[in-house]
């Protein structure tokens, strides 16, 4: 790892587009890149402890159960890069899980209307979070803390704080089962959903919306000058996070069943995942895919702890340590890279891996 740190200096003197390997190496030296190295190392360790997991179907099952956290991290990513927090995501998951359980019951014909209702709930929550934060100028931390209390209170009020009825199996398919395929054997739907969510989110990040969102997180004034209304950008970020939480809830109902405590703590896990992936709190910087990798790192770390036989009580400590280390790495490398006034990293040089790479504000395209 120490060897690759010097790479950016090399790229600077390369007049033409640097070769892919170089660019990859340079990318890996960033906080958003190191997380991939870490992820690969952890997955190798997990498989080493349990060689059966090397089989494609088993491995995909492992990824499948990480999918909800990764999807929540995708939603949180949009809010974080816009410079805010969404603490209500876990509570949104709880509400949606309980809604699904209570309203669908044993009747598969109710699935469609209930899913539409869940989407509507997500839209309302996202709008409330976004509009209260932007138009009423309540800090997002406080807005979403309030909605978190409101939603979790309502969930527990409706259920009395205990497990409810599981919905019809047809509804649980997405989280619980998958496709039988010839070569890899078994493809869990959750993995498919994760890929779809990530593809859509990547597309959004490359759209003017995504670029302006990052810009607004970095500097709202500049974003405003660039012709975007900051309030609508941030409200859309909150909408996306509420929708992501809803998708995660659908997977979790399938995977685990109905319980109001499903989703509790996911907001902090998702923030942790984003931070591990090099997303900077306060907005403006961070790669979407690295946030997803951060979620996978966290989950595979917990799996590894289970395999090694570390008591679950140590989990918070491990999570805390990795947060601090990741954050320290981010800050150290960011300072190193940000100090030189002139950088020749083009804003969008890597169509494959580096979308959303933060560029200096002056290089951002103006307007739409």
């Amino acid at each position: 790892m120490t060897g690759t740190v010097a790479e950016p200096a090399v790229t600077r003197y390369d007049p033409s587009r640097p070769p892919l390997a170089r660019r990859l190496a340079a990318g890996l030296a960033t906080p958003g890149g190191i997380v991939w190295v870490l992820l690969v190392a952890l997955l190798v360790a997990v498989v080493a402890y349990n060689p059966q997991l090397a089989a494609p179907d088993q491995f995909l099952r492992l990824i499948a159960r990480m999918a909800p956290v990764a999807i929540v991290a995708v939603g949180q990513y949009f809010v974080l890069v816009s410079g805010e927090f969404d603490l209500s995501m876990g509570a949104v998951i709880g509400v949606q899980v309980v809604l699904a359980g209570t309203l669908i019951g044993d009747d598969p014909s109710r699935i469609l209307p209930v899913v539409l209702l869940m989407v509507a709930v997500a839209v309302v929550v996202g709008l409330v979070n976004g509009l209260v934060t932007t138009l009423l100028r309540v800090p997002g931390f406080i807005t979403t803390l309030g909605t978190m209390l409101i939603l979790s209170g309502l969930t527990f009020y409706a259920t009395g704080g205990s497990a409810g009825q599981n919905p019809a199996e047809e509804f649980r398919v997405l989280g619980r089962s998958g496709l039988q395929l010839p070569i890899i054997g078994y493809l869990p739907w959750a993995v498919v959903v994760l890929v779809v969510v990530v593809v859509i989110a990547s597309w959004l990040v490359r759209r003017p919306f995504g670029r302006l969102l990052l810009l607004s997180g970095d500097n709202p004034r500049v974003a405003h000058l660039a012709g975007s209304s900051v309030w609508w950008l941030q409200t859309r970020a909150y909408l996306l996070s509420a929708l992501a939480a809803t998708v995660a809830a659908i997977l979790l109902v399938g995977y685990a069943g109905v319980h109001p405590s499903v989703g509790s703590g996911y907001e902090f896990t998702a923030i942790t995942a984003c931070v591990i992936g090099g997303v900077v709190l306060g907005g403006g910087r961070g790669w979407l895919l690295s946030a997803v990798a951060g979620a996978l790192v966290l989950e595979s770390l917990f799996t590894l702890l289970n395999f090694v036989g570390v008591a679950a009580t140590w989990r918070p400590t491990v999570q805390g340590a990795i947060i601090l280390v990741a954050m320290a790495v981010t800050v150290l490398t960011t300072f190193r890279r940000r100090r030189p006034p002139v950088r020749e990293v083009p804003p969008r040089s890597e169509p494959g891996a580096g979308e959303g790479a933060p560029a200096p504000a002056s290089q951002q395209p103006r307007g739409t």
Binding site: R65, G160, A256, G309, L332
Partner: protein, 400 residues
């Protein structure tokens, strides 16, 4: 300036790395085995209590077996003369929480019993404060009742035994009857302590069911809800003792009640190797554990549960090798009756032990038949079949 910053940062990182390495030996010491190596090392294991509850499992209870909520073990009685009341009384109930299905079912039963007592003119009203699983809140709740409640008697369902003791003693000082039920407190000032045989008896029932069918060296995965809560800790301590004596291997997880965490833990254990039984201390955990085996395409081993309908239905539908540990839910009703019996001049036991009878495969069909209409979250030991609100109040499950 820039160099200074990065040097400071490096120093900081170094200090932090040192701090981490300093933590590491502790981490290894605590994490090498999943928890205490044996029941003897578990601070919650108490041989005398284990023997007492083991003996009570086979004891003969006084009273009408058709009304188990009024049965008790022979022992010291409380003279009602000191507490008799010639008017409808006010009950003050400091509740730990309603945060699991068992507590909710009991709460519904208690309220149904309350309605009967109000119609009989024994109880004027019951004021309830809910501590939401917080010791500090519960102490404040009890103090509120003592100062402000205008109470004719207290019912306290404590959150954790030691932390509420001082407040319970303040309630005792009022001279009004104080009934504690479910979890214990560390003081003997209370008028009566209502509970079923206990967590150890629960642990012995479940532990023996599992141990009887396994060989030495077989492996049990234990899923535990909460650390430091005596009713749960004592269940595990007793089962752990039985597994130790039978030479059975076990790993234990603290999963909380979140089914996703439970499923992940079980899935990881399935990946590690064969599992011969899953032990849970809360019935809510059984179904996610069962599903983990199904999703992995592995035969479901022994999985115990409690008397909650979700587990009993899963047991029946999947024809499992199951066992329902019971911590009698009807004690919620008993607690209220204990107080009102004192008001009405009836002596009650000082240590009121109600029976607790686990559900075996022999009783499964009968239990399911009686509770056929009930929701998945219902506890079948609710003991309210003879109350006027039956079955609607429990079937509709509107939390009062």
């Amino acid at each position: 300036m820039q160099r200074r910053t990065s040097r400071l940062a490096l120093v900081g990182a170094g200090v932090f790395a040192l701090a981490l390495t300093a933590c590491a030996p502790g981490a290894n010491a605590g994490g090498g085995s999943e928890s205490e190596p044996s029941a003897e090392a578990n601070p919650w294991f108490d041989q005398a209590q284990f023997d007492l509850e083991n003996e009570r499992r086979g004891a003969q209870f006084e009273g009408d077996p058709a009304k188990p909520y009024l049965q008790y073990l022979a022992g010291d009685m409380v003279a009602a003369a000191d507490y008799a009341l010639d008017r409808p009384g006010k009950v003050c109930f400091a509740n730990a929480s309603l945060s699991n299905t068992w507590r909710q079912t009991g709460w519904i039963t208690m309220n149904q019993q309350l309605q009967v007592l109000q119609e009989q003119g024994v109880v004027q009203q019951m004021e309830t404060r809910d501590a939401q699983d917080s010791d500090d809140t519960q102490v404040a709740d009890i103090d509120y009742f003592v100062n402000e409640g205008d109470c004719d008697g207290f019912i306290i369902s404590p959150y954790s035994p030691d932390a509420t003791t001082a407040a319970v003693e303040r309630a005792c000082e009022t001279g009004k009857p104080v009934i504690v039920f479910d979890r214990a407190v560390s003081t003997d000032c209370v008028t009566s302590f209502v509970h079923s045989i206990g967590g150890m008896a629960w642990g012995i029932d479940v532990g023996e069911f599992i141990a009887d069918q396994l060989e030495p060296g077989d492996k049990v995965v234990a899923l535990r809800t909460a650390a430091g809560v005596d009713v749960f800790e004592s269940r595990w301590a007793a089962s752990q003792k039985i597994f130790d004596d039978a030479g059975i291997e076990y790993v234990d997880y603290l999963t909380g009640a979140d089914p996703a965490e439970i499923k992940k833990a079980v899935t990881d254990e399935i990946a590690k190797g064969e599992i011969d039984a899953v032990w849970v201390d809360l019935g809510d955990q059984s179904v996610p554990a069962i599903e983990a085996f199904e999703d992995a395409g592995v035969d479901v081993p022994i999985v115990n549960g409690e008397d909650n309908m979700a587990y009993l239905r899963a047991w029946k539908e999947r024809d499992l090798n199951g066992f329902g540990g019971v911590y009698s839910n009807f004690q919620w009703r008993t607690a209220l009756l204990a107080l009102t019996q004192l008001w009405q001049g009836q002596d009650i036991p000082k240590d009121w032990v109600v029976p607790q009878t686990p559900i075996t495969s022999a009783e499964l069909d009968a239990v399911l038949r009686v509770n056929d209409e009930m929701p998945d979250v219902h506890s079948t030991s609710f003991g309210g079949e003879d109350l006027p609100g039956f079955p609607d109040a429990w079937r509709d499950r509107i939390i009062p």
